[in-house]
């Protein structure tokens, strides 16, 4: 009906047919960013540069020569990707004011396709966290906190509590990007995913969050957290859009020696995906302690959906899942300690005024530049890397990592095509709840369902599924085989069509509602 029309409405073809111009689109997004500033989703808005890009795009459309589907499409990029000429802060004092001289490969690719870069989005400092609450620019607010759906459900709560204290987190660490997409300020955003940092906020913000296979998309220019697990993540409002963005980003990059050499062919998803011939695995270990009964029920319903469509749905086991958090802790902190060693105040970034000696300058710079979370991980990591500890911690963790990866190999090798799991243990918690526990505790809890896919380098995607009793998004996760993104996204698209996740009803978006802005409400651009 009406809703389906809206979903299928394509802003790209609107641009092509001249129903809307890139400049108008850009201006609307910028205006919406301004009126949703309270979300704190953006650290930097590159207004002038974006309008210029939109202008250029417009010229191309007028000539009838757009660069592709992404030409003129407003996008946002997480602030741990290098963007030439635009500040890249990683939400840290260490890089406040840092203007990189080069673009990350993924940023360059998007710009080369004509995408319009609106700005850099907020995150946990150096991508360490699962709430997007621990950056120096403050926490990101989940747009759903201000949705009619959430407000309606919180009417029963005490009236004396106002909106201010009730707002919920976005999840993290790519919370800014998830919020930006969720609140319609852009059509796609880049995040990063090391332990779930794209999928987690995607689930909480009701958007699609794709973690590609490790080695498929270049990490050149992504400021690393854990080099052996990081991937650029893609956040969009529908699965088709994610496929388009993936197509423009994937492929070997000579600047990143960990990208695969094979030629990547961008693919289009079938308009009528068919899952009847597939085998869907339900890993029993993902019924983790703390999983809300709501999500458990939803997970079960989803499995039934597949069954009813003719797919084979079987329970499988990934026995080493419960070790993944501890294993991750060792490997992650070790790499963090190493990666952060370059921040010494000498070549770039914050430099302390302390100048009694080089060593004292280093120490003061790093104390001033890094927050507690970062410093804590550096200390842990250095401990694990000490000669006397290396074998017992680092090497052991690597062995456990191999076991975790082998769990998946066994299951996929046994005929399972896709795994279906929850993405998060619950819907988004209110900020004041979230901060009661420290970052480390939260990360350990929240990463449990997403972390193992990073250990194994596998592709995984969050698909928004339904609203919780509190009116907040719940997403489910699909995990696929290495480099089988096409199959993964096909299944995700089928599922998306089945569940028909509701559109967020945001006052700010409605306010900007007129003919031109009609396009804003369209979920997709492709």
């Amino acid at each position: 009906g009406m809703r389906q029309l809206v979903w299928r409405f394509q802003v790209s073809s609107a641009l092509k047919e001249g129903h809307v111009t890139p400049t108008e689109l850009c201006q609307r997004c910028l205006a919406l960013i301004k009126s949703t500033r309270f979300l704190n989703a953006y650290i930097t808005v590159a207004e002038e540069a974006a309008l210029k890009q939109a202008e250029e795009s417009e010229k191309r459309y007028k000539r009838g020569q757009p660069l592709g589907v992404l030409d003129g499409i407003p996008i946002a990029v997480k602030d741990n990707f290098n963007t030439a000429g635009i500040e890249t802060t990683c939400a840290s004092n260490m890089l406040k004011g840092y203007i990189s001289p080069y673009n990350a490969t993924v940023v360059q690719k998007l710009l080369d396709q004509g995408a319009v870069l609106l700005g850099k989005t907020n995150l946990d400092e150096f991508a360490m966290g699962s709430g997007s609450t621990d950056g120096v620019f403050g926490p990101v607010r989940n747009p759903w906190s201000y949705s009619r759906q959430y407000k309606e459900k919180s009417v029963s709560k005490s009236h004396s509590e106002d909106e201010e204290s009730n707002w919920v987190i976005t999840g993290g660490s790519s919370g800014g990007s998830a919020a930006a997409v969720s609140s319609f300020t852009c059509f796609a955003a880049l995040g990063s995913d090391t332990g779930g940092s794209t999928r987690n906020p995607a689930a909480h913000c009701g958007v699609v969050g794709l973690k590609p296979t490790y080695g498929l998309i270049s990490r050149h220019g992504l400021i690393p957290l854990v080099n052996s697990m990081d991937v650029p993540g893609i956040l969009t409002r529908c699965v088709d859009d994610a496929a388009v963005v993936l197509g423009s980003l994937a492929g070997h990059d000579p600047k990143d020696s960990t990208t695969i050499q094979d030629n990547f062919k961008p693919f289009e998803l079938p308009s009528l995906p068919d899952v009847s011939k597939l085998s869907i695995g339900i890993p029993k270990e993902y019924h983790a302690p703390g999983l809300s009964s709501e999500i458990l029920a939803l997970w079960s319903k989803a499995a039934d959906l597949f069954k009813n469509a003719g797919a084979k749905v079987i329970e499988v086991s990934l026995p080493h899942t419960r070790y993944s958090i501890v294993c991750y802790h060792v490997l992650c902190t070790a790499e963090v300690a190493s990666n952060m060693a370059r921040f010494d105040g000498l070549e770039y970034g914050h430099r302390s005024d302390m100048n009694k000696s080089t060593e004292s300058m280093y120490a003061a710079t790093r104390r001033e530049g890094f927050n507690d979370v970062v410093r804590g991980r550096i200390l842990s990591g250095n401990y694990f890397l000490l000669k006397q500890n290396y074998e017992n911690y680092f090497i052991k963790a690597q062995r456990v990592r191999r076991l975790i990866a082998n769990d998946f190999l066994k299951v996929f090798g046994g005929g399972v095509d896709i795994l279906l799991t929850p993405t998060t243990l619950s819907d988004a918690v209110p900020y004041r709840e979230f901060i009661k526990e420290d970052n480390r505790t939260r990360s350990a809890q929240d990463d449990i369902l997403t972390q193992a896919a990073n250990m194994a380098g596998l592709p995984a995607i969050n698909v928004p599924t339904a609203l919780s009793e509190r009116g907040l998004p719940i997403g489910l996760q699909f995990i696929g085989r290495s480099f089988q993104e096409k199959q993964l996204l096909t299944v995700a698209k089928w599922f998306e069509k089945q569940v028909k996740f509701p559109m967020i009803q945001l006052e700010e978006v409605k306010r900007h509602n007129h003919d031109v802005f009609q396009h804003q409400k369209s979920a997709s651009f492709s």
């Binding site: 080069y102 400021i223 190493s338 370059r342 010494d344 000498l346 770039y348 280093y362 250095n382």
Partner: protein
């Protein structure tokens, strides 16, 4: 007093001769303006990644093969962490776990008793060769309490060659390094000029009594020439012996060689007991090398390094060159050493031999004893010689044809050194140095002398 056995091992860093750095595309060049050869990766800008330079891998394979090493078909890269101003990333990328080449050997020769007449061949085991990054340079300006950092050298490729403690004195260490230098220069894998920092040597020295375990060793750094290497090692051996004989102990420390004072001094403790927190370099996959057997059929040969292909194209190493010279020209082994030891001298010698009838066995004396000592006296290289091989050949031909004596030849040479573009023949004529061959002419001269010296002749005739 019981005898002492000195034990010397060496860690040698050779800068790879390549256009660009080990993991980035910035240029490698000596003495460029500060910080003009620094890529984003070299400066450790966040988000940059290493990309391995193929030429550096080939250089290391060549060197490994020339040193009789096993080339590891799979080697790994690691991070070695420490904080220092000239190390922008806070870690160096090196090969600690599995280096590219292991278990080789290097043969070198020494003169016994300082005579060039007796040479003995020795061997030192090569423990391993590893690829690693060079650091930048820091200059301490104490007057202004500041440190100036130049990152031009940061990231340049190095081959670290580790020689086992098979040497026993400065002379051996110097000879081994000299031979390594010649090998590297022959291969072209490093220009190995110590003065330009392309070859850096650290010596590990200890002493012990025969039959007892090895003593505590010290590391000696800041050695800037092969001559100083011999001096530094011998000084350190002596120092340790004296220390121990006086009842003292040797500290496991790093010492710097002071070339002015000719001694080693403890270095400012810049690292202490460092734990380098080695960790695999996650941004570089294992380095896989192939040989003819293991090379897959469909592999793009631009993308791989083939050990056998490199082996087939190795040039003649110095030891082979020397053997060929001895065989071809009938010269002595010590002559061949002297020829290879001086840049361009072999070529000069061979050019003279080509253009003269004099036997090479005789030519060599003129080259080594006359030409070379003249060049040394005036601190000239062969390239800078005012006498060309052609001129030398002409001169030796005159000598060979007995048109001049060898004394006269030396006089002609003295003239030729002036570089006045006169040919030997012209000088001979000018100075009337021709040997008189005519019997009658000789008799006339003798008679004239006798006539002029009647009394002396009578005295001689009387006995």
């Amino acid at each position: 007093l019981a005898p002492w056995v000195p034990v010397v091992g060496l860690e040698i860093h050779a800068q790879i001769s390549s256009n660009s750095k080990l993991f980035s595309g910035s240029q490698v060049q000596f003495a460029a303006p500060p910080n003009s050869l620094v890529s984003f990766f070299d400066a450790s800008l966040p988000g940059t990644l290493p990309v391995l330079n193929r030429r550096c891998v080939e250089a290391a394979v060549m060197t490994g093969l020339a040193l009789n090493c096993s080339i590891n078909k799979k080697s790994l890269f690691d991070r070695k962490h420490y904080f220092y101003a000239d190390l922008p990333a806070g870690y160096q990328i090196t090969q600690q776990r599995v280096p590219i080449a292991v278990n080789g050997s290097l043969s070198y020769s020494l003169c016994i008793d300082n005579k060039m007449s007796q040479m003995v061949t020795k061997t030192v085991r090569i423990k391993q060769i590893q690829l690693e990054q060079d650091s930048g340079k820091s200059l301490h300006d104490d007057t202004r309490s500041q440190t100036l950092v130049d990152l031009n050298r940061a990231g340049v490729g190095l081959m670290e060659v580790v020689m086992e403690p098979d040497m026993c004195c400065g002379e051996e260490a110097a000879a081994a390094v000299r031979e390594l230098q010649l090998i590297l220069q022959t291969l072209g894998s490093s220009q190995a000029v110590m003065a330009e920092g392309q070859l850096r040597v650290d010596a590990n020295v200890s002493v012990h009594h025969p039959g007892e375990p090895y003593g505590v060793r010290t590391e000696v750094k800041n050695i800037n020439s092969i001559r100083f290497l011999a001096k530094a090692v011998d000084y350190e051996i002596q120092r340790q012996i004296e220390e121990l004989e006086n009842g003292g102990t040797i500290l496991n420390e790093t010492r710097a060689f002071d070339s002015k004072l000719g001694c080693t001094v403890p270095m400012r403790d810049k690292e202490g007991k460092q734990d380098y927190r080695f960790m695999p370099e996650p941004n570089l996959p294992p380095l896989i090398l192939y040989d003819a057997k293991s090379l897959p059929a469909n592999m793009n040969h631009q993308q791989v390094v083939n050990i056998d292909w490199i082996h087939e194209r190795l040039p003649d190493l110095p030891s082979v060159k020397r053997a060929k010279l001895v065989e071809q020209y009938g010269i002595l082994p010590e002559h061949s050493f002297a020829l290879l030891n001086e840049d361009g001298l072999t070529e000069f010698f061979e050019n003279v031999v080509k253009q003269t009838q004099m036997k090479p066995k005789k030519v060599i004396g003129w080259i080594l004893n006359v030409l070379l000592s003249y060049l040394k006296e005036h601190s000239l290289t062969v390239k800078e010689s005012p006498i060309s091989s052609l001129m030398m050949a002409d001169l030796l031909n005159l000598l060979e044809k007995k048109e001049i004596s060898s004394t006269a030849a030396k006089q002609v040479l003295a003239e030729l050194w002036k570089g006045e573009e006169k040919t030997p023949l012209e000088i001979v004529k000018e100075k009337k140095l021709e040997l008189i061959q005519d019997q009658k002419e000789l008799e006339q001269i003798c008679q004239a002398v006798i006539d002029g010296q009647e009394n002396e002749v009578i005295m001689m005739a009387l006995g």
